[in-house]
């Protein structure tokens, strides 16, 4: 019996048909998010008085604190899309989780650096084992592990499944890490960061949080768009390999 003839590659059931046309992130989101950052920063710098201990260095807070929030938020995005990938196995969810992880790691690194710059005048040293700073560092290491796993795995399906599992399980650990580091520190000494905030600073902080949220959405969308384009290139190579000689 003769084997069946060449099959059209469009019968591919493992491939997402929408992969052929990647989304385009419109340019206005870039302008809006940059504009929002400028407005929020300007507002915060103009309205906030010099703080008692820190003076104008306090203004670091307007990036440092929202960046920390965005770090946690991106961990949540990684968790949600990782779980949905394992559930439905849609390639796009994997790409979205990976994009969120990269952006989250960037915000996480920013948080750490600004925390150290803050710490130098506040505590006289670049690093203290402060509860928040330490747990942020551990989260950064979890992101690093996730991204390293993706870098060291070749097969795209294996990469997607493994990193989804690592992303979901890593995100589960976030509250546990946070709690354990807090206990570890605060049972020794009171928390080193002020728990209550002067109301004169809150508005600026909120505005900057919204601005950085827009930046984060733009970054994730843009990174996702690039990842989709990369996949689309691979799918075209596939079509060429399956169809033509």
């Amino acid at each position: 019996m003769k084997p069946e003839g060449q099959l059209n590659s469009s019968s591919d059931r493992l491939r997402d048909p929408s992969a052929a046309r990647p989304p385009r992130t419109s340019i206005w989101l870039a302008f809006v998010s940059i504009g929002a950052v400028i407005v929020a920063q300007t507002y915060a710098i103009l309205t906030s008085p010099a703080e008692g201990d820190m003076g104008h260095l306090q203004k670091i807070m307007y990036v440092h604190v929202p960046a920390a929030w965005m770090t946690f938020l991106s961990f949540f995005v990684v968790f949600a899309f990782s779980v949905r990938y394992l559930w439905q196995r849609r390639e796009n969810d994997d790409l979205l989780a990976a994009s969120a992880a990269e952006v989250g790691a960037t915000f996480n690194g920013l948080t750490l650096m600004l925390g150290m710059i803050w710490g130098r005048p506040a505590w006289g040293v670049w690093w203290v084992w402060d509860a928040r700073l330490t747990s942020t560092l551990v989260l950064f290491l979890i992101f690093v592990g996730y991204l390293a796993l993706r870098a060291f795995t070749d097969d795209t399906q294996q990469k997607a499944r493994w990193s989804a599992a690592v992303g979901a399980i890593g995100a589960l650990n976030v509250p546990i890490v946070y709690m354990s580091v807090k206990w570890w520190r605060t049972l020794h000494q009171p928390p080193s960061s002020p728990a209550t905030l002067d109301p004169r600073y809150t508005m600026g902080l909120r505005l900057n949080a919204i601005a950085l949220l827009l930046v984060m959405i733009y970054f994730i969308r843009k990174r996702y768009e690039i990842a989709r384009l990369e996949r689309a290139t691979e799918h075209m190579a596939e079509a060429a390999a399956m169809g033509g000689k």
Binding site: W162, L172, N173, I176, M179, S180, W184, L187
Partner: protein, 228 residues
């Protein structure tokens, strides 16, 4: 009686892993020797002041356990990969979680034996006085080892098949183990009476919660991770 079949698979994998590791002398002996060697190096680096050593003892034992444990986890999958036995293992019918459970049980037995040696060496080398409440201390140790083995076995199932297994496993595993390290060392110190500020009970509850959360999560996720 499928649960009986599943249990038979779990037992067979665990028994096979422990037998091969104990027979291939290289396995257990080298991993346990590494643990003791790390302890000796830490003693040299931190000593010779007896008081300083005693304070560092719990942390030293845990670090030695983590570093040598990583080797053991990678080995447990490498033995399958080297001989091409992972493929037949994956081809047996039946649920895949039995493979994870078997590996987990095997690694737990292996690590328990290793930790016993490392702890005994730590007590001698760091001059630890055994407290009256030593059963609680063993309990803390056991809970910590369970957490270590659960995540170690899970991550090794991926890392051992990736391009950079030696570096990838600790990179994935160690940050995840921060709560275990903090809880186990702080609770042990409290029980040893070195640190009266901390209460061991809360940390023990944290360890129990950690073990349960990740035991459940890894059992669910393993199915997705092991498939080719």
């Amino acid at each position: 009686m499928t649960w009986r079949d599943d249990w038979r698979r779990v037992r067979a994998i665990a028994r096979k892993d422990v037998t091969t590791e104990l027979r291939a002398k290289a396995g257990f002996n080298s991993v346990a020797s590494l643990g003791v060697t790390i302890l000796i190096l830490l003693g040299l680096a931190l000593g010779p002041d007896a008081e300083a050593l005693r304070n560092a003892s719990v942390g030293a034992v845990w670090l030695a356990t983590l570093f040598s444990g990583v080797l053991a986890f990678n080995r447990s999958f490498q033995v399958e990969l080297e001989s091409g036995a992972l493929e037949p293992l994956l081809l047996y019918p039946g649920p895949r979680w039995t493979i994870f459970a078997g590996k987990l049980l095997g690694n737990l037995i292996f690590l328990t034996l290793m930790v016993a040696i490392v702890v005994a060496a730590g007590i001698v080398l760091f001059g630890v006085q055994i407290p009256a409440d030593w059963p609680s201390l063993i309990g803390v140790l056991a809970l910590g080892v369970v957490g270590l083995v659960v995540l170690g076995t899970f991550y090794a199932s991926m890392a051992s098949r990736s391009r950079a297994r030696e570096v990838l496993l600790p990179l994935l595993l160690f940050p995840m183990l921060v709560p275990v390290l903090l809880a186990a060392t702080t609770a042990s110190k409290a029980l040893l009476g070195a640190d009266v500020m901390h209460e061991a009970g809360a940390w023990i509850r944290l360890l129990v919660a950690y073990d349960l959360v990740f035991l459940i999560a890894t059992f669910i996720a393993f199915e997705h991770v092991i498939e080719a």
